[in-house]
Symmetry: D2
Subunit: 388 residues, 4 copies
Amino acid sequence: MRSGRHFLQIPGPTNTPERILRAMHRSVIDHRGPEFAELGLGLLRDLKPVFQTEGRVVIYPASGSGAWEAALVNVLQPGDQVLMYETGQFSTLWKNMATKLGYDPIFIAGDWRRGVDANLIADALAKDTDHKIKAVCVVHNDTATGITSDIGAVRAAIDGAAHPALMMVDTISSLGSIDFKTDAWGVDVVVAGSQKGLMLPPGLSFNAISEKAWAACQAGGDRRSYWDWRDMMTPNDAGYFPYTPATTLLYGLREALDMLAGEGLEQVFARHERHASATRAAVESWGFEILALNPDERSNSLTAVLMPDGQGGDALRAEILDGFDMSLGTGLNKVADKIFRIGHLGDFNDLMLMGTLSGVEMGMIRAGVPHQSGGAQSALKYLADHRI
Amino acid sequence: MRSGRHFLQIPGPTNTPERILRAMHRSVIDHRGPEFAELGLGLLRDLKPVFQTEGRVVIYPASGSGAWEAALVNVLQPGDQVLMYETGQFSTLWKNMATKLGYDPIFIAGDWRRGVDANLIADALAKDTDHKIKAVCVVHNDTATGITSDIGAVRAAIDGAAHPALMMVDTISSLGSIDFKTDAWGVDVVVAGSQKGLMLPPGLSFNAISEKAWAACQAGGDRRSYWDWRDMMTPNDAGYFPYTPATTLLYGLREALDMLAGEGLEQVFARHERHASATRAAVESWGFEILALNPDERSNSLTAVLMPDGQGGDALRAEILDGFDMSLGTGLNKVADKIFRIGHLGDFNDLMLMGTLSGVEMGMIRAGVPHQSGGAQSALKYLADHRI
Amino acid sequence: MRSGRHFLQIPGPTNTPERILRAMHRSVIDHRGPEFAELGLGLLRDLKPVFQTEGRVVIYPASGSGAWEAALVNVLQPGDQVLMYETGQFSTLWKNMATKLGYDPIFIAGDWRRGVDANLIADALAKDTDHKIKAVCVVHNDTATGITSDIGAVRAAIDGAAHPALMMVDTISSLGSIDFKTDAWGVDVVVAGSQKGLMLPPGLSFNAISEKAWAACQAGGDRRSYWDWRDMMTPNDAGYFPYTPATTLLYGLREALDMLAGEGLEQVFARHERHASATRAAVESWGFEILALNPDERSNSLTAVLMPDGQGGDALRAEILDGFDMSLGTGLNKVADKIFRIGHLGDFNDLMLMGTLSGVEMGMIRAGVPHQSGGAQSALKYLADHRI
Amino acid sequence: MRSGRHFLQIPGPTNTPERILRAMHRSVIDHRGPEFAELGLGLLRDLKPVFQTEGRVVIYPASGSGAWEAALVNVLQPGDQVLMYETGQFSTLWKNMATKLGYDPIFIAGDWRRGVDANLIADALAKDTDHKIKAVCVVHNDTATGITSDIGAVRAAIDGAAHPALMMVDTISSLGSIDFKTDAWGVDVVVAGSQKGLMLPPGLSFNAISEKAWAACQAGGDRRSYWDWRDMMTPNDAGYFPYTPATTLLYGLREALDMLAGEGLEQVFARHERHASATRAAVESWGFEILALNPDERSNSLTAVLMPDGQGGDALRAEILDGFDMSLGTGLNKVADKIFRIGHLGDFNDLMLMGTLSGVEMGMIRAGVPHQSGGAQSALKYLADHRI
């Protein structure tokens, strides 16, 4: 029995807004009936501005991992080379998936502290003179490291190499939180999920699809059924889906899209930037290091904080969960126990952030983690001084 | 603006009980934290009695179609023959999926009015002396035709042929409604979904897995990632999942399992049988024909009703939706417009059934569909005379 | 563990629509803040058309009984005579309350099978030459007997007698179900509650107040505080209340008013009339007698059905609750065990009514209550033949 | 469109826990049926330990003001003297109500900065040699001033004077937050509401009743109906109520009682004390004065903070609401605009408190209210240093 609200400050799933939970509390309707068609058409239409695309967006009743798989199997053929880039655990997992699915990933190694170096992409593409590489896959915001890569630079690298590879980007922890321009950046396949900036519970994921990717899908792709974009198109045009959709999550999506439109995407991005800046001010005050070395690459949706030598991140997280009922993100794989991650994305505001950062600081005190006090206070000052 | 509750009498998704919607109206928790582990372990444990198995059950954040795909890709290799059986649209769709995924289905043709003839299975297996057929796939209860096949007889046919093929069964519209004995019938892979007898919204699906299927999965199977049973096992043992689960649907599943256990599976099956019998009494009184020719194969979860010559099922359905705010199932593919389907499964009771059948009869009157009046009255008598 | 939805067919509280429960599932806001003011002003404005008045409407966080008390104490002084009329248990209870509160009710006796005879009111007022009678109090629709009285005739009687008494009317089970014209009928104080035609859970009640009643309140009335209309007016003008309002019920009221406006009051009344007519057709078919002798006085929100000699209504109700999970209204006081009451008001539709009437007929069969079968079938025909 | 959760930090209604909103999201049941009886009996039984009484507790579908009125009218007769004590706006309002209802309050004046001086009670009672004073009425925790009075001392004063007056105490903002011992302190009538420590939305209120008060009620009391304890007793014994109860709020009450029992009352009180102490540490750090002069009388459920000279509390509150989406309590009556009030009661935890206090400090910065920075930081230290 804990009193008060749990603070779910992992970098997603995020705190589900009351409005969205309420919208989902509704009886299921006939997914083949006229009322559903209206819902479906509206969703497919209103998702586009969130992706900043005029192209196709498809919705899967699946986790984000499903949308990764969909991106690959719709355009690749077994043995196809894909150029992927290590920015953290999630780019690693996507690479592992590509391997399991029978593709041939070229994985540009990273140190988990820097984003995509577009020059290395350019180099790799330049070497690929016979265009064996069919796709370049990067993670816009790696949730494991809090590193945001420059997608426009990746676009420029591909264009500079005059390489025909498709460009695929995972925006699972950036869409609806950090500016992402599908069309302007020429992204061919976008991978997104419901449970981060879209503020929904997990269970839906998305692909946005360029004309080039759609052509590739029609011309080829792998053996596929559940993920097949082609099966989506005709029913989607009428507001329906080829198999039973996750209706209650779609009710929530309707509400989420209305909320994002109501606040305005520009305002949403500015809000995330402001909370991230305040968080970084706190981390600096504590005397801790942010995992992302390059200030331009520090994520606006989460902050990964390096523990001092000899201090385990998981012990701190456990103390904070036990003492203050807040969940923080753990360090994964190469940074296991070396970092903890603070999610500051989704349906969030200044006072929730202050509760969050205060909880981190109180946890450090209780856990005996050496730090300079006053981090929360620094964030407070930042927020008070920076009106939005 | 319609007054009162919509009657969702398609054969699934079914009317979601208030208890389940309420259980789902809860903030998402950390899917890597200790509270989640307790939830996950409980679900994985308590699903087993619903499947009547001691074996493994896996949960996908996906529609039922995903669990079809999972069943195939975990054990089959490209080009593998699978023996499938046409009992309606859903067996047809599963066959189409097998083709798309690169397997080689042998499809025993049916007329959509009869269930699986186990002799034909036996014959096909007997001919397959070099055991090219790797799996026999049947649909326990074809949702498009309301035909329930004898799965024990299929088991006997396989055993009689001493054939090593795996036996896979789709129970999407029977699990939790019609007795299904995974272990007793030696089913190797069960395919199930959340939105029928389990009373949940759509968005979850399931495989139950025998030791034999598990061995096949480990020894081979296709290229796969999202659906890979192997990735599930280690996290599942601790109550977790390999990727983000659909947490709110899992809350609903917890409630659904408690409800089924509270009522008792035997009682649940008896209730469905009773409502189906009352529905069949109504159909006979109206002078209509049930699509399923064999009384033993008439489904207890839905009833497909043949329209009289010259009368379209879809016009009747539209009249009923417009006039009485009830959704019925349409005729699909070979029986398009020739039938309508009444769902009487899930969270249902006598008075809901009487509202449903009265709505059908009133719709016939309004639509000018010739019939003998008194079908609802016959069902009323049946229900009053047959205590459960 | 009962499967399916309970049928709550008492004549109120009524089946709460999902929309209203959802609207109430919202965090409480500051009842002194600007967001609340907007809510409050909208409610106080939009209640008026439901009461068909241009006058004041006040909202109490209280049951309907509270609004009875409020009506009396705001305008009466101890010892004041009030002319009241026995149409059933609820008029009796209001009379008892008047006595307890120190007023002097003259109670015109009734036999619980007829509504108000306006001639008797006229006679009583004619005799009251020195105008000791300060108020005439009648129940528009007595929930205990299913009798609807002619309020226009009462108005005419008062006017005919040129008597200055205030006219007070209880519309608890008629407002939002049966046409009630506060201003056109010159009603000075209306008493209403949330849990019937307004479709809300219980917990709110209302007074509509004419100018004449408001003048009486300001000039006199009894000692009072919680119920004092005077304390309401200034805060109400700004959208607030003098003490903490029942915020979540007000959220529900917002939704209810939107639902009634969306359907249209005329349509709402026609729907209730249609369902009542179908119910009466069923009762006649069963060979049962309706308690209300005068067809013009038969309620459109509930039907009180007389049991045959030697048959107890409560045994039948218990059988129906036990066997079919439906709650019906009991017989109260003078008609205890002699009747049962079917509520057919609020958020209701044809199929819910057919479930209801089928449940009554099945209950009669099970309980061994002699009846002619086919009542539900008669209602079915009525509904099919009478489009709205 | 505000992002994130509103902080409702008025001293009630408090932040409604998700569990309670969820419990209330349930269809209404028959308030005369067997399922209701079980609910009612459980509530009436389990309220007693919360009041720390073995006596009667009654539940009203009404605001707290209704329970004030009920306390008076059940035992007093017109003209009866009641000794009341000014500790803030709510004691003043209760006094005003007593006057309106025709009783004769003797109001011991206070300066709104100190609690009840039991000596003054003793003096007044000593002078009342012919026992005209029928009741002593005090507010345990005056919500307008954040002052908690010593109820045991009042008991001692009455006993010391050997005076037969009943002792009535308002615990609206203390019950379930600050230790209150109905029986041990010999309180005859307790007045409580749902929307503070009980964590429910407003709409229910309570009286706890001693044997002495019950005897007074039966022997006398005023004209009354809605509030009459006598009408409650027989139905309550069976789990029912004399008129329609506010069923959905009762569902919420069931959950609230389970939550309080789950946490344990001692733990609940300690939690409130700890949050109040941290808040006071913040106020001191800011260099502000707490309205309550006597440290022993500083409330554990709210803190009233004096503004510096020349600074208006309402401008600060408006800035905080606008800039940080938090509602704080206003200054009422004698302290209008001179104070603001921070509610830290109900379903609350450390991180919510840190968000709250950070919001106050950020508001001061934005509003240009002179203060010493670091108040939130002081609270943080307090919380980190004081494990519960």
